[in-house]
């Protein structure tokens, strides 16, 4: 993966929450800390492999649902509740990925990548049961493509003018029907 990939609308990941996403069959947790910064990590606790997206965000840490191991914004484990006396070694770390937020969208990116989208208004994210490489959208409507897995694509739809959100929403429903009918 070289080009940044949209993985969520910003509004769908409010502070202190996490969601799980998939890009080309790789699973990621997208979470936002209490300060409002979004993070994209490997969706796997190093302890027992539980999905971190099922965990809890508390301040600037995300805690695993399973045994409560807590990870700071740099991905390093900060606390193991069952062993509060243990100085946690730096080697217990979750894989982190470049995260960019632009245009009301959260992007999975390499650390050197930038995304420069003008502010947009979110409409919806929509799963399509088809491989989608490109979409021809009406003027003022932006569709960002997230390849999920073979035969499955997530589309993140935004508009430049908020008054066009409803028409874009209806257009998107028709788009999904057309894309899935073509497969």
């Amino acid at each position: 993966m070289n080009a940044p990939v949209a993985v969520a609308l910003s509004r769908d990941v409010p502070p202190n929450t996490s969601i799980g996403v998939r890009v080309e069959d790789t699973e990621y947790v997208v979470w936002r800390d209490a300060n409002g910064t979004a993070h994209i990590w490997e969706d796997r606790c190093p302890h027992r492999g539980m999905k971190l997206s099922l965990g809890f965000v508390r301040g600037d840490r995300i805690a695993c649902l399973y045994h409560g191991w807590e990870y700071g914004t740099d991905g390093r484990c900060q606390k193991i509740p069952a062993h509060p006396e243990l100085p946690v070694p730096d080697s217990i770390t979750v894989g982190t990925f470049g995260t960019v937020e632009s245009g009301g969208v959260i992007w999975l990116a390499t650390n050197a990548s930038t995304v420069d989208e003008a502010p947009l208004h979110p409409v919806r994210s929509m799963m399509v049961e088809a491989d989608v490489k490109d979409v021809e959208a009406p003027d003022g409507t932006h569709v960002f493509i997230q390849p999920v897995s073979a035969g499955r694509t997530m589309l993140h739809i935004c508009v430049e003018d908020a008054t066009h959100a409803e028409s874009a929403y209806l257009w998107a429903l028709g788009l999904r029907i057309a894309l899935e009918a073509a497969t």
Binding site: P46, L86, P87, P89, D90
Partner: protein, 85 residues
């Protein structure tokens, strides 16, 4: 590597007995040791037994033992034993 003032370093030898796939099991051991900042040395291995020498924080060695007891897919650990190295 430092574990701070509360760190308790231990030297332990662990023996895992069972039906093991040595290559896979040893790779699993190495990965867990790296993750837990434990120095480890393989003292011997066969499809029925793996013996490793460990140096690290006592709690982390406990975690290592538990993780390796569960083991990778294809390996079944029936028993473990340990002794101070």
């Amino acid at each position: 590597m430092s574990f701070g003032k509360s760190g308790v370093m231990e030297h332990q030898t662990l023996v895992f007995d069972g039906a093991l796939e040595p290559d896979v099991f040893l790779a699993f051991c190495a990965h867990r040791a790296q993750r837990l900042s434990i120095d480890h040395e393989v003292l011997g291995h066969s499809p029925a037994q793996v013996e490793v020498a460990l140096r690290g924080h006592a709690t982390l060695i406990d975690m290592f033992e538990m993780a390796c007891s569960l083991g990778p897919e294809g390996s079944v650990v029936v028993s473990t034993s340990r002794s101070a190295a």
